[in-house]
């Protein structure tokens, strides 16, 4: 599922992103199926996390992949991974949905005293305050996990290099990072919305 190449996470679109994109642009339906198989758990999980509504999350997931099929040229592999591109669209749609729900509730029960600043959504998955929450969640990790994550993501190290710097085998570095990612997902879920 989460295919890792030499370094922990590919910085640019990996070759199979490009190839899948080329195939989708060329009207190859089976490529859309492959993109769905690979990325729908992420897209659905993300949509579900934000909306907390399985049906809405299904609609958003469906729409994100349809949009990629219908307008494949809106994605430019030179600007990032397909995963990030689809996640950005899903995130934006999910947040739009939550806000629309909120507005409906507000108009039903009257205005709140203090409206929160609207979050600006641009071409990123995370708005500035959300990115800050991710950083805070990282700093709240136990040291062993935090160091591994920082080396891998902020230091651009491979699993092997993370292991060397922490004086542990590569496999241990890998499992620490995965454990850290699971902890982060849990921590972020608790504070969502």
């Amino acid at each position: 599922m989460n295919r890792r190449h030499g370094s922990v996470v590919p910085v640019e679109a990996p070759y199979d992103d490009r190839l899948l994109h080329q195939r989708v642009v060329g009207g190859d339906e089976s490529a859309l199926g492959e993109v769905y198989d690979r990325l729908s758990p992420l897209i659905f999980g993300l949509s579900l996390r934000v909306t907390r509504d399985r049906l809405i999350a299904e609609d958003i997931t469906q729409e994100v992949f349809l949009l990629f099929w219908e307008r494949p040229l809106a994605y430019d592999p030179d600007r990032g991974t397909l995963r990030a591109w689809l996640a950005t669209i899903a995130h934006r749609r999910a947040v739009d949905h939550v806000r629309a729900e909120e507005r409906r509730r507000v108009s039903a029960i009257g205005p709140r005293l203090f409206e929160r600043e609207p979050v600006r959504l641009e071409d990123t998955v995370l708005a500035a305050d959300e990115a800050e929450r991710v950083r805070q969640a990282v700093s709240a990790l136990p040291d062993g996990l935090r160091e591994a994550v920082e080396l891998a993501y902020f230091g651009g190290r491979t699993y092997r290099q993370v292991g060397e710097e922490l004086g542990v085998p590569e496999g241990t570095a890998k499992s620490r990072i995965r454990l850290a990612l699971r902890r982060l997902a849990g921590a972020l879920a608790e504070e969502e919305v």
Partner: protein, 296 residues
């Protein structure tokens, strides 16, 4: 990409979820309704069907202004699409596939282009797009049952239908690239399996482009190395009547996509980025005549 974003997405991957029922069948059915996939056709015609689908994806994002903008040859996008439909229709006529658009009058590329453009100018750009796609898809469907070696003629040139269709694919690709450039949209290359046979056609055309330009390469051999996905190596006998390539007199190495585009009339042969070894003046002849068949 921002490391925090990558980290967030990786964390989300650990927290992935699946819908109660797979959305896959629904998705594929919905996709088909929103954008038509490449037409089903013979394997050898798929490079063409793929470029038609890619062009159509590009046209899907065109708005009124885009359709009226001049792309190439003094033609607007609508006229360019009509031109593609005209030539596709001529190949269709040559192999007994349905010909759409105005009744067949002129049977050469330029004449038929004029007729189809006049017909389409009275229609909306969206109708022109549909007419062009319908012609291309009708041709693809007809090709599904046709042997690739069936003779076909376009503008007096008789080749196997497979080669005419590869040439249609290349022209569709090049015009899609022209339109994408004007619209400032990045158009990805075809998949390597589609580039390869297109490059092969271009390599095989070299003796003809030389001859067509009044140069006879008889008895000379070119070793052509095309780099990048879909590339490869070719040994080309440069005389149209040569039966076998001999020892190479010259070696040319170039990017496969640039080489295909050179044959399609995009790129300056005098300034073409290629590595050349051996008979330099022969290489010069090959490259400067390469675009001899590139019409509008």
């Amino acid at each position: 990409m921002d490391p925090v974003e990558r980290l967030y997405l990786d964390a989300m991957m650990e927290d992935a979820a699946v819908p109660a029922h797979s959305l896959r069948p629904q998705l594929l059915a919905g996709a088909r309704a929103r954008r038509r996939p490449a037409a089903p056709t013979a394997d050898w015609a798929q490079p063409y069907a793929g470029r038609v689908a890619a062009m159509d994806a590009l046209l899907a994002s065109a708005v009124d202004d885009d359709w009226a903008r001049v792309i190439v040859e003094g033609w607007t996008l609508q006229e360019l699409v009509a031109h593609l439909a005209a030539k596709d229709g001529l190949v269709a006529a040559s192999v007994g596939a349905p010909v759409l658009g105005p009744p067949m009058g002129a049977a050469d590329s330029l004449g038929r282009t004029g007729d189809v453009q006049a017909y389409e100018r009275a229609r909306s750009p969206e109708q022109t797009r549909r007419d062009w796609r319908a012609q291309a898809d009708a041709l693809c469907r007809h090709l599904a049952a046709l042997p690739p070696t069936t003779p076909a003629t376009l503008d007096g040139l008789e080749f196997a239908v497979r080669d005419h269709i590869l040439a249609r694919g290349l022209e569709t690709w090049i015009h899609a690239a022209d339109a994408a450039q004007v619209a400032e949209i990045r158009l990805p290359d075809p998949v390597p399996e589609h580039i390869r046979p297109t490059a092969d056609l271009c390599a095989r055309l070299l003796p003809w482009t030389m001859l067509f330009s009044g140069l006879d390469g008889a008895g000379h051999t070119l070793h052509l190395t095309l780099t990048g996905p879909g590339g490869g190596e070719w040994r080309v006998a440069l005389g149209v009547a040569d039966t076998e390539p001999g020892e190479p007199d010259v070696r040319i190495t170039a990017d496969v996509v640039r080489f295909c585009f050179l044959l399609g009339g995009r790129g300056d042969p005098e300034d073409f980025p290629a590595e050349v070894e051996g008979d330099l003046s022969l290489a010069q002849d090959v490259l400067t005549t390469a675009l001899a068949f590139s019409g509008p």
